[in-house]
Symmetry: C2
Subunit: 540 residues, 2 copies
Amino acid sequence: MIEPTVRADFVAAPIEFSTAKKMTKSPTRRTDKALRVRRVAIDTYRENVAYLHRDCLVYRTEGFQALSKIEIAAGKRHILAVLNVVDDSAIVAPDELGLSEQAFAHLGVDEKTQVRVDHPERPKSLDAVRRKIAGQQLDQADFGAIIGDITRNHYSKPEIAAFIVAASQNELGRDEILYLTRAMVDSGERLDWQEPIVADKHCIGGIPGNRTSMLVVPIVAAHGMLIPKTSSRAITSPAGTADTMEVLATVELPIDKLRRIVRKQRGCLAWGGTARLSPADDILIAVERPLGIDSKGQLIASILSKKVAAGSTHLLIDIPVGPSAKVRHMREAQQLRKLFEYVGDQLGLHLEVVITDGRQPVGKGIGPVLEARDVMRVLQNDPEAPDDLRQKALRLAGRVLEFDPDVRGGRGFAIARDILDSGRALEKMHAIIAAQGKQGTESKPGRLVLEVASPVAGVVTGIDNLQMARIARYAGAPAAKGAGVDLFKKLGDGVKKGEPLYRIHAEFAADFRFAESLCKQDNGYQIGRMADIPPVFVQF
Amino acid sequence: MIEPTVRADFVAAPIEFSTAKKMTKSPTRRTDKALRVRRVAIDTYRENVAYLHRDCLVYRTEGFQALSKIEIAAGKRHILAVLNVVDDSAIVAPDELGLSEQAFAHLGVDEKTQVRVDHPERPKSLDAVRRKIAGQQLDQADFGAIIGDITRNHYSKPEIAAFIVAASQNELGRDEILYLTRAMVDSGERLDWQEPIVADKHCIGGIPGNRTSMLVVPIVAAHGMLIPKTSSRAITSPAGTADTMEVLATVELPIDKLRRIVRKQRGCLAWGGTARLSPADDILIAVERPLGIDSKGQLIASILSKKVAAGSTHLLIDIPVGPSAKVRHMREAQQLRKLFEYVGDQLGLHLEVVITDGRQPVGKGIGPVLEARDVMRVLQNDPEAPDDLRQKALRLAGRVLEFDPDVRGGRGFAIARDILDSGRALEKMHAIIAAQGKQGTESKPGRLVLEVASPVAGVVTGIDNLQMARIARYAGAPAAKGAGVDLFKKLGDGVKKGEPLYRIHAEFAADFRFAESLCKQDNGYQIGRMADIPPVFVQF
């Protein structure tokens, strides 16, 4: 019925290939049709999106599917993008290739440039991801290839998610964490401060109000040790150090200006997004956070890759432990500490870990303006200053100061206290603020307020870090700088029935109602007897 | 420096909440501003995409991020969509909400309808996914919740990928596979043929040219047993049964017409995408295939959920084993068989598994037209018909016929052979083709051909299924129906040096060059001595 029709003029001569020769690289499928680039004013965040008209010849002949990845080449420049198919010539015409803002910037050619569109090669490093899913150990070359492909945007988001889950389900071994960290450092730029000691401190997070960096930096810099602190903005918390510092000073600084400030002031408190430090980390986090997956390996690689790339030589890591902290048990904290130490040592970092009390928020304020207020009160030696924030900052600063070979072991705390009590830390903070650029307008706590009272008399036996952070976020923090929560009572404090536990601040009515309704479900506090307070055994 | 400014008129009365009351449901954040729906002619395949102008008030005040998920509500209808931010009012104006074609259809309201946009609640079933990542067993309720959320499009693609990887890394237990299968059946419609025996057969895939269904269906239907076969199109292979049948007849049939055909002819060979059978499977596959992740649990759930939803009562599963098949070792095939049997029994299916020879492609042709040719030659009892395809189809058909209580065990093969040899199977095939709608134009093998010759003399000791499939795909199959590979030599055949092993057919010059270049790297054949042929121990 159906027989092959062979026309003599199309039969090529038989060819002979060695059967031993194995495939090394798939040939790339090239189409002969070129398309003109058009910029489509759609912001697709970190994902490259390309738009082809349904009547586009290339779309019809190449067998592309909507949402499949395509490779776009203009001369030697090429990117991968996710394909959306368009039925409206006003967005993209049949002979055009539309590019979202990100894809347009990423390809880096002018509009109307002729480009070719192809089936992309599947990133080879996906084989390593599949081996990880199958339970195998990966080596340095595997992690280098995976992180390299992720940095070059060769992975789709589901592929990134597959890597994240694969690397968290069967926890990475300590050498795998090292390989991942190294690969992430190599994915971007690396600062070199050309000093023997470049100090930094970092908390693994999860404790609201824990703004010790804004105290440690002025203390350590006032001592003369270099501490060029770059921080992130909040992603899932009600305030990051960058958000809080921004209440007082400009934090988005060009890298050259940052270098001049650090050279002169010995420290800074800036946003870390200006330099391209461990860019793979940003890409991984953008997929990881919405998935709500936390793994030790990725936590360590994320923190250490950023620090090594930022040029740190000496690093203090703060691991808070508590029933609603990221780390809930001392055993877990010790495991994490050993992993940090192992990877830090292999990377040539001088790294120390302190395990701290993470049973409740630190200080009184939660949210950028309220936290900045607490920090300034400590620096001003104000009697209203929260003592737990002051004590924690002094201990951390003391440990950082002991990185200085001239500081005798055990003397750091006293030196830090002298610097704070004498007003030299406040003076240094003012100098750093002035150098970075003082904020013109003074921010105030949100004017919509709600005081939350205790339903019973007793002693505060628990404050849920997660719930307090959530209430502050619902109230508008960190986007609304004045939004957040101001705590009146901390663990062990006695309360009368009806006495306020904390005050919620919001700037907008919708946020206010939103926080109020969350608070009605769970106000985050536990009231009981003194004996009910969970004990904490920290080494600090 | 910064003090809270509290205006008395905004201070709400202190409220008292029970601390015992725990949060059960996050309040949904409602914005007061409504937006008008606009249909944006962009095809985003299975993903809902929404477009907001950067100057849109809702976008500015709600703190949405590009690529984050938003919830869109119109009265009681609501969908989740991925947000893209637009800077061009021609695409979407600041007071409009743009919806991609999928999202527009999915929301199901008219243009200009007023809608509200909110932060979505995080699907609760993600907690179960996280428990799976942590290594826990999930129960029926967990799988029901996960598959329900996936079917309602409440998962982003990275979230789906997280579930797929989590469920494949620590293999699902057999009860988990059962729960997953049940949840997938429940995600869609279910056909009921109202007959005691509704037979089907299914191969787990991976063997090019394995078109036995197109022989089993006419043989079994000619016997009078009901076999309403619905098949998929090729996703990663050079031809699916639907693609091959489409060379001969219409395969996309409305469900009512399909029912009439099956009632009259006792069988059909149609595309399975018309009814909404196990829609969760389609969503999972769309994410799973590009990731290249294969897990036993998902394979079984995917196949059995489709079959149960399609109303099958009796099912024959074909597991080919061979060095380049999906299943490479007999031990693995036996494990898979036990899992199929366990889940099938629990679902009330009469299920049998056969393990077959998967060392090489079945038949001669690979690609829709060439495979259809082989099938028709077998039906026509043509001396040119590939005997391996004939034998395999007769054995499978024989086993299916033995589902009939009136057929004595062991007699099925002889009955099948009688039906084939007598021409009754061909007659039934013509009747099915006529009922579904005969294709008007006869397709021919692609006219661009290349014969690939053996570089040495010897015996064919290996044919790589994966490489032959790849060459056929590069040549244009299945989109170009006439494209593919026609095999002249099979395992054990002697070849002279320079003698052709197979012929590549292409329809387009670009495909032709593409296949040629792949073939130059690895022609897929191994030539050696008779003793080098890998043995096979199959139970069939």
